[in-house]
Amino acid sequence: MSDPYTLRVNGADCEVADADIAESLLFVLRERLGLTGTKNACTEGECSSCAVLVDGVLTCSCLVLAAAAAGTEITTVEGLGDGRGGLSAVQEAFVQEGAVQCGFCTPGLIVAVHDLLEADPDPSDGDIREALSGNLCRCTGYGRILAAVHSAAAAKQRRP
């Protein structure tokens, strides 16, 4: 057992009690806090389905010891909308471009693309491939994901 700790997730303080010492942030987000947008696949950092932002830094939540994330600001895919209950420009672009097939990798990709466009508002194909090199999608072939990133970048530049 670890001592109770508090995680700050999407702007809210969340108490975690009676937790096992070995729980990952991914496990706690999904199983204790009910935030199931963050997906659980490889649990070894290979696929980025579980990507979140920790203090604004793109992170695989499966590789974070949950108790050690106390004191950080965690943003999950649930915290990335437009702030009024609607979709972000990135989410909207994924819908419009059909960049989703089974959808399992999509939340991790959405988080990674938010992170990319924050740092680089107009990335090249090469920049996008590099930024998303850790996000594995086994359905789409990535073509429509690339299109969605370009489309989201253009949309953000129209209405920043």
Binding site: S2, I21, A22, G45, S48, L58, L63, A67, S133, G134
Partner: protein, 288 residues
Amino acid sequence: MSDVVVARNLDDALSALSDRPGATVLAGGTDLMVEINRGLRRPRQVVAVAQVPELRQWSVAGNRVVLGGGVTYTEMMAAPLAEAAPALAQAARTVGSPPIRNAGTLGGNLGTASPAGDTLPVLAALNAEVVAAGPDGERRMGLDEFVVGVKQTALRPGELIVRVEMDRPRGRQEFLKIGPRNAMVISMAGLALVADRDGRAVRCALGAVAAGIPRATQAEAWVAERIDWDNGAEVEDAVADEFGSRVAAASSPIDDHRSTAAYRRHAVAVLAARALKRAFAQGGADDV
């Protein structure tokens, strides 16, 4: 006593470790959490050091570069640190993916001490010293003293890797690595080569082809006599190829699930020749 300590400064981290000598140190989590998630490892106590600001610092002092143990791969890749230790930046660039590089640290790569740890050949070629702090103060170890076997280090209970000090010689640096794709790859063979123009030396170290991180010292000495240090002429192909064969002789690879010993030995020879050609290409004497 709390089983998970999230240290906020170096003193906290060291005193937490001193109180819990059996505790597991957690840095970026990219190795440790994989083992925990698979149930292969179950720490009783954890001291997390990712939020220790002192470990994130680095500096360049004269001809030495000093990196805190918590410097991440992403930080190693970015200027101006990338300019002070170019081969380290090249090695960092080959690790995992952006989120892995955001989390993984130099101290973590050392603590894991895998033969395939991508920064380790660079540290060996730059004559790095690992500085560990513990209950009895600080002690310094050369890389060959620190890495004592496959995933085995000389770190004692209660000790923490606080920083790594390495040379900053005048000359080009190369890191090369073989793997099946350009991301998320654990090295099948890796090589770092450093030209030291003032010392008239070539230093070359190997990853993923031995139990430790061997330096190809005989090949280094052989090639140093065949470099045109004064005029900066390019290295001849025959010299580069012979250097490659001699570097490969310093490897002792095995067959495993990632590659075969024969392929690794061949790859090391190719990488060594290529790195040498690049380090001593036209203009190499002038541009650093």
